[in-house]
Each structure stands twice: as C-alpha cells, then as structure tokens.
Amino acid sequence: MATEKLSIVKAINASLRTALENDPKVIVMGEDVGKLGGVFRVTDGLQKDFGEDRVIDTPLAESGIVGTAIGLALRGYRPVVEIQFDGFVFPAYDQIVTQLAKMHARALGKIKMPVVVRIPYGGAIGAVEHHSESPESLFAHVAGLKIVSPANASDAYWMLQQAIQSDDPVIYFEPKRRYHDRSEVDTEAIPGPLHTARTVRQGTDLTLVAYGPMVKTCLEAAAAAAEEGRNLEVLDLRSISPIDFDAVQASVERTRRLVVVHEAPVFFGSGAEIAARITERCFYHLEAPVLRVGGYHAPYPPSRLEDEYLPGLDRVLDAVDRALAY
C-alpha cells in the first residue's frame, strides 16, 4: 500500500512529482518555483530532479506566466503554473478570462487548453495586503474555467492529478492556512470524480456546505454543535465550478436546512449561487432560508482584524442557531 500521512504541501509536491514523471509534456512554471521551491515550498526539490526545462523559474510577470502557458498548451504541453499569492493573480486575470477560458469555444472545440493555475488562497496567516484573498467567485463567474479546492491532503494529491489530466483549464485553489495539516494519502487509490462533493460528516438537523479552508472550520462547528445535541451534516464541495448541486440537494432534502460557509465576501459570492439553486430545487423541503456565512463587503482587513472578518466557529454556529430557529 502506498498510503502515507502527508501535509497538503507535501501532497501537492508529490502530485507534481508524479505528473512530471508520468508525462514528459507536464511543465511546472512560476516565480521562485525552482531553487527556492516556491515561497511555500510546494515545488521543493522538483527543479533539482527534473531540471530547469521542466520546472521553470519565470520572470516576475503573471500575465506572462499564464499567457505563455497558453502558448505552451497550444504546442501540446500541459503547464501547471503557480501564482505566488491570491492577490497577485490579477495581472494574469486578463489572460485567464479573455483567453484561457474562451480558447476552446472559439476554436469550435478543435483545440484544448490543459492549463492548471495553482493559487494559494485565503486568510488567517497574519500576512500583509494582497496575501489573503479569496477570489474564487471572480473566476467561477467565467464560463470555460473549472475551479476546484481541496480541503485535505488526499484530495490535494488526487485533484491535482485530475486537474493536470483534464483538457480544460482548471483553477486549483490551495487553502494556504491548511497547508500544514496532515492526513492519509493513498497514491495508488482510484480517485472519485473530480467535480463531486463529499459528505465529510453525516447529520440530520442541518447541512453545512463548505470547501477548502472552511471545511475544517465547519467540522469543528459540527463537533461543537453536537455537544449541544445538534446533529449537523458537513459537505465538502471540493469543486466550485461545476458545483455538485445534486449532492447538496440530496443532503438538504434530508436535513431541510442549509448554511453555506466560505471565506470570500458573501455579496455576489459562491454562497449566493448555492442558495439560489437550492431554493429552486428544494423549495418545499426547506424549513428555513438558506443562510450564508462569509467575509464582509470590505477589503480584506489588516491582519490584526482578520479573525473578526473571517468566519470562525462562532459565526458558523450563530448561523446554525438562526436556521434552526425558523
């Protein structure tokens, strides 16, 4: 058995290593990914073992990184690019939105865009501006992109494998505050489909839906609620585009209440999409409106205030109380 307990960082590293070994067309590129191994050490040791041709330290230019990855993909390569921090993806946003997302459709399906954009995202690491953003909705709104976010090491490993093998562009959001959380990874398992949600805790009273960094928070909230005799179900969405609405619907039909939790601002966020769809699908099952917990309509605050800004256990439980009070 190839089962090992790994941190998310190590799991992504192992996944990149496997991909580089298995497919000579896979290329890792980004700022500082070579000798330094990336600022989070996600690419540690890869350049040493696969050389500067496969693991490329790029110039400090995000538009350039994604734009050239598009060109490499057109030439048959499968680039996996690293954006150093969430807040620095925006110089590349143009390339991602106007080019990467639309290329397949514009070519009438004749060309494929197997590009993975890895973005460490989210807060709670005490960083300065632009290092704690959760911009997933800005990408989810764009047709042509697929968006995933693992919440544990096994998913980190397997979802990256699947993203690299996908012929569509995948934005792979890495929950940086969970980078060092360790869990079992079976590198010989047969993974489930990339875009399905997973029930990580079964319950009967209410469904908590989350992805990436908030899955752990929701599990903690469910554990705390259990002490008060409440039995919460927790769904790890895993994929933000597409969303596995069937799984959410099935859960809500049983629990009849739904709270969606994410770090990104609530306004126009992924929670709004989930609330709307589930209201359409489950109107007669719902005992309470779908509630959302997330960031405020405010710039990500300086780090001394991030605990107030980010949804924590208490805010999740507060929403649970409100949903159960209907």
Partner: protein, 383 residues
C-alpha cells in the same frame, strides 16, 4: 554611461540639462560613480556635483539613521511585534541619494521597501510600521509629504506615477515624479506600459529602479538579457546606470533626471546598481538560493562605510559628530520600539470604515449586523 534618446523633446523652459554621451556599446557599462568604495571622490563628466561638508554629513546621517531604523524593525519582527518586514539593508545610498534629490512639491511612488526615501520625504518612520504590524493597510496621508502609500503588487505604481506626472504637465507645473521599483518589476506589463505612456506623453517622471540583484530567489538574469538601463532606449528616453551604493552619484544622477523632467524633456530611467544584503523579507530564507560569498563581496562596497571613509579621510567629521549620531540612532531606535509596542489594535469596526467616500447601504447593513453580533457576546458575558 548614459544612453540618449533621439526622441527627447525640446525643453519648455529653454534649459538643457547638459548634452549626454552617445549610447554605450556592447559589454558591461560603466556605472556613474562619484565616490569609490575606498571613499575617494572621483569626477564624472556628466554628473559634476558640489556638496558642502554639511550636506555630506547630512547624507551620512540619513543613511545611518535609516539603517538603524531598518535594523530595529527587523528586530521587532523577530520579537513578534511585526508580522513581516522588508529590509532595505544595503540600499541606503540608492534611497537617500535619490530621495534627497527630490523637491517638496515632487511626488514619490514607492514599493514596500523605500524606508529611506520615506525618511527623506519627512514621513515619520513609525508610520511605516503599521501595515507590517497588521494594524492598517497604509498608515499615512500620501498628500502630507507627497509620498504615496507602499505598493505591494509589483509594478502597479509605475503607472500611477506616470499618470500623476501627466497631470503635472497638464497643470503646467514644474514639479516631477519618482517611481521606485525593483529589477524584478521590470518584467511586469505595468512597468512596460508605464514606459510607453511616459514616453508618448513626455511625462515628467523618473523611473528609479533599484537593481538589488534579486527578486526573491531569482537573479536579474531571470528577468532580462540586457542591462536594464538600456531598456529605456527602446522606449525613446534616456537610461542611466548609477552605482547604487554611492550616495553622491545617486543624488547627482537623480537630480539631473529630475531637472530633465522639470524642463520638459520627459522621463528618464535610472538603474541604481546595488545589492540586497539581507533576506527579501523576514519570511525569506536566502541560504536556499544564494551564496554567502556574494554578500561578502558587496559588504566591501557598503554605502555607509564608503561615505564614512570619505568623511574621515577628508577630515569632514570628527569623533564628536559620530558619537552624537550614534546617540541619535539609539534614541530613534528606542522611539520606534516604544511606539510600535504601544501601537493599539484597531477597533474591530474599522473593517467597515473608509470603504466608500459616499457610503454604501450594504456596508451600513453589515456594520450594524456585525455590531449586534459582537454585542451578543458582551450580553452573554454579563449574564
């Protein structure tokens, strides 16, 4: 060595900042240098400069205090008082030389490392620490000293600087702008676009690049195949490479570039060739990508030591001066330490402040909900 642009416009005021030499040929260019590493004054045909002993001592004082401030901030980070610090160690001459070349009505657009320039602009150094401590995302009023907020997204501010400079031209004013950025930043589209706009609109802006040899772990060779100062030629304005560890040369070259800008001759690109002696930031581990010997080579070119040698060999400063400065440094460090430790966390409702100038209904609603939610805990506690 300078590269002159054929596209340079006629000066508005009729002043010409001195004819420049033709473009440098292949090979490594000479640096503009006025003070050797041994502290000896040398002449340069294009950049003659007269400085009084008092001015020299002033530049020395600026560099010493800036370095001390920087060292104190690094220590405060290690002690957990700051979340992060981006040290300028080794770049004092580039910053003080260029900063002292600016006039009060000029405007400066820094990155996140321009603590020495901030000093020259009169920004209280303790104001720089708020964002690194995590109590704000800026920390000063940019218009108070014409010193813009630090910019973390690489290269963005080059465009802001250029736009500001375009505004100066529209107003018919004769002030100028300096945009700071690193060698890595020259790879960003924003910087290339800033060069284009500045050239096309003949904007009074000086692009001051501190080439400290590294962009985190990547050496300058990962950004460019030509010496950076030569880029300017392709945009149609002059590029100059100056010894970034020579405060006099940095002062002279920036002064000349600002003079060009003021007199309607458009932008200049200054590449200050220097070295980042420390880590990129306190989060970085340079031992993973860089050899100690390199730093040792550059220590021999230390900008502060160089001016000190000059002051001593020319008898321009006595023991009393150095002792007084040491005491002033200690006092500054103490003030910085005390101010930072006493810096309170912001009120939690600060999250909702200053988001819109004209207000926003959703922000008001969320603020109310937030306050009510916080108050619910207080109610719990009082039960």
């Amino acid at each position: 060595m300078t590269v002159d642009s054929t596209a340079a416009r006629k000066p508005r005021g009729g002043k010409r900042a001195g004819a420049k030499k033709p473009a440098a040929g292949a090979g490594e260019p000479e640096l503009v240098q006025l003070l050797t590493p041994e502290g000896e004054r040398v002449e340069h045909p294009d950049y003659a400069i007269d400085v009084t002993p008092e001015e020299l001592r002033g530049l020395y004082r600026d560099m010493v205090l800036t370095r001390r401030f920087d060292a104190e901030a690094t220590t405060l980070q290690r002690q957990g008082e700051l979340g992060l610090w981006a040290s300028l160690l080794g770049q004092e001459a580039a910053q003080i030389g260029s900063g002292r070349a600016t006039r009060d009505d000029d405007y400066v657009f820094p990155t996140y490392r321009e603590h020495g320039v901030a000093w020259c602009r009169g920004v209280d150094p303790t104001n720089l620490l708020g964002m690194f401590r995590g109590v704000n995302n800026g920390g000063w009023d940019p218009n108070e000293n014409n010193f813009h907020l630090y910019t973390i997204v690489i290269g963005s501010q080059a465009l802001h600087a250029t736009g500001y400079a375009m505004g100066i031209t529209k107003d018919g004013a004769d002030s100028a702008v300096v945009a700071y950025f690193g060698d890595g930043a020259t790879s960003q589209g924003d910087v290339a676009e800033a060069f284009t706009f500045a050239a096309v609109y003949n904007a009074p802006v000086v692009f001051f690049c501190q080439n400290n040899q590294w962009a985190i772990s990547e050496p300058t060779e990962k950004q460019t195949r030509v010496p950076l100062y030569r880029r300017a030629q392709g945009y149609g304005f002059p590029g100059v490479r100056v010894d970034g560890n020579d405060v006099l040369a940095c002062l002279a070259v920036t002064r000349a570039a600002l003079e060009r800008a003021r007199t309607g001759q458009g932008p200049t690109f200054v590449e200050a060739f220097t070295y980042r002696m420390g880590a990129h930031t306190t989060s970085d581990d340079p031992t993973r990508y860089r050899r100690d010997e390199e730093r040792e080579l550059w220590e021999a070119k230390d900008p502060i030591l160089r001016l000190r040698r000059h002051l001593e060999r020319e008898g321009l400063a006595d023991d009393e001066f150095f002792a007084a400065l040491e005491a002033e440094s200690d006092a500054l460090a103490k003030r910085v330490r005390e101010t930072v430790r006493a810096m309170p966390d912001p009120e939690s409702t600060a999250i909702f402040e200053n988001i819109y100038a004209d207000g926003h209904a959703l922000v008001d609603e969320e603020r109310e909900q937030f306050i009510a939610y916080q108050a619910s805990f207080a109610d719990e506690e009082s039960k």
